[in-house]
Symmetry: C2
Subunit: 341 residues, 2 copies
Amino acid sequence: MSQKEITIYDIAEALNLSPATVSRGLKDHPAIRKDTRKRIFDKAKEMGYQQNHFASNLRRSRSNTIGVIVPRLNSYFMASVISGMEKVANAAGYNLIISQSIESKDKEMTNVKTLYNSRVDGLLVSLAYDTETISHFDLFLNKGIPLIFFDRVFEHPQCTSIIIDNYKAAYEVTQHMIQQGCRRIAHITADIKRNVYSERLRGFKHALLDAMLPYDEELVFFSNLSEQAGAEVTQRILALPQLPDGIFCANDTTAVSCIATLKQAGIKIPEQIAVTGFNNDPLSKVIEPNLTTLNYPGQEMGELAAATLIRKLDSKEGGSLNTIVLRHDLIVRESSLRKKV
Amino acid sequence: MSQKEITIYDIAEALNLSPATVSRGLKDHPAIRKDTRKRIFDKAKEMGYQQNHFASNLRRSRSNTIGVIVPRLNSYFMASVISGMEKVANAAGYNLIISQSIESKDKEMTNVKTLYNSRVDGLLVSLAYDTETISHFDLFLNKGIPLIFFDRVFEHPQCTSIIIDNYKAAYEVTQHMIQQGCRRIAHITADIKRNVYSERLRGFKHALLDAMLPYDEELVFFSNLSEQAGAEVTQRILALPQLPDGIFCANDTTAVSCIATLKQAGIKIPEQIAVTGFNNDPLSKVIEPNLTTLNYPGQEMGELAAATLIRKLDSKEGGSLNTIVLRHDLIVRESSLRKKV
DNA sequence: AATATATTTGCAATCGGTTGCATAATTTGA
DNA sequence: TCAAATTATGCAACCGATTGCAAATATATT
């Protein structure tokens, strides 16, 4: 049953060395002779030695653990992000502790404390809808523990942000809709406290203005971008005295439920109303008509976030990086194709 | 900057008590007087004390961490499972370390070792496609560290399994298809080393036999249930000398890509071929026709798995539980509705 | 061969909580 | 009031790896 764990003391005893030498040997310390090191490694393997991380962490005040806070875990995008983080972290010998803020600032604050308590070496964060300031991260910032934001970020001199160019992306989506003949486009988005939504809104607005189209605030709708919210907002749009001829949704979930609602109301898509989304969720390829959307690489974003953090941790450098912008691409599908090519 | 951490020694000094008393006070040890305990708590809060888990874990040989191994993270189902686990674990003061096997036995073995090394208190596992035996978990089992399987399970006297009744579920799906007039049903599934697929196949078979329909092995297709595989297998089905009048897919991803392929080939669904899936992925409500599928609660499965493990850990009981079966329900939608109601 | 230099290894303190056992303080009982 | 029975607190030895500094050993230099 509970065979005793092998420690460096056991190895030391077996080889007639001191624990200190074993400890150094095990981690390629330069002051250990090569053949001694080999003997240590061999004996360690032979005895089935496993490092005790607690002892090591306690002594070094390092945990080799990365804390992750995301709004929600149950979306394809976020699952891909986490998947990417896990891959990179795992390969570099780090563990991930994942927590969800459920889009609530309060829960986010609790999570921060918990992770602080867990002594994570760094933090990867995508902010909740309603987070206003990031003072709850001061705990980390004051101690110089690296904090990296991804996707839903917050400008801060000490933090690296990993994002896409949401402004440009939304600009492109809108421009595409205009090119397809849309002249009165509605936008369904979420709290503009979050960069992803404010930037998309800005891109949307500028694309309109640049095309000499009016920007009508009445046509911008704020919601939580859930499936249900998509249906509700769409109903409100349907009740407008004058219908728009295009709807740009800030995510695919909403776009899909928007399309479903429009179809139920007998609206032809894209002929009467073109619809576009954001995220390139698997849903977008399944909905009919297929959804025009904006692709951005969740898995890569996760990998990059983790890799950037680990680089900072392992070498104390990389502090100069402030923002990393990932590529994105517009994926044109039928839901917005009004001109035959 | 790096203000020194507050330890129980600091609190002890401030209150003129011993660290031992503070340690006990902080954890509601019965031998501490109520007012002493209160003084300790107050001072701890005042000084901003945070437990050092490493020290505690080192001493107690406990990590308050749960290891999770899943095949892949990037599906809606799995994201929901993890979400549920995180919720329960977090509330009980446990952390989660998540790793992916990428459906590979070898990676799974590596993950097991890594988690063992991390000294997790228990393991929650859903097996990879090609795992044959679970001897790589012996490390855990021999030490009496609890191991709980969910969804893709393996019968073992020491392990609790959390599943749905896949046999019954598949039986119901098939029975429904038969009731809708299907007489020649194909089944697309995955490696039957995994209970979820072998049980579904068994349910499928028995439903046919019970309805006096022939069970034709030629109509059972094995794949990895990816989107691409769905399309490929469907092509093979389309090339059959005699088409089936129903296809039962062992997951929704495959079902959706199957439907797409059939539609491209000009087949009417459900009139010519009825299609059903499994999982109630969000996709199923979006594909046209809407997909008949089998719902089973990922979030709950995750919550239950975590709760069961934690119960075992915290009280050393619950060892008698061998299998927990969650409810499931058939969700009938248009993709299989051939009889008007 | 003796000294200087470089290379290896060991000593011992440390990280911060936990816990068996001993001791001190308090309450109860006669 | 004093001994006996409770209850509360403290002592000190862990848990296992790390690391500054000293000591020992090996190699180079003259």
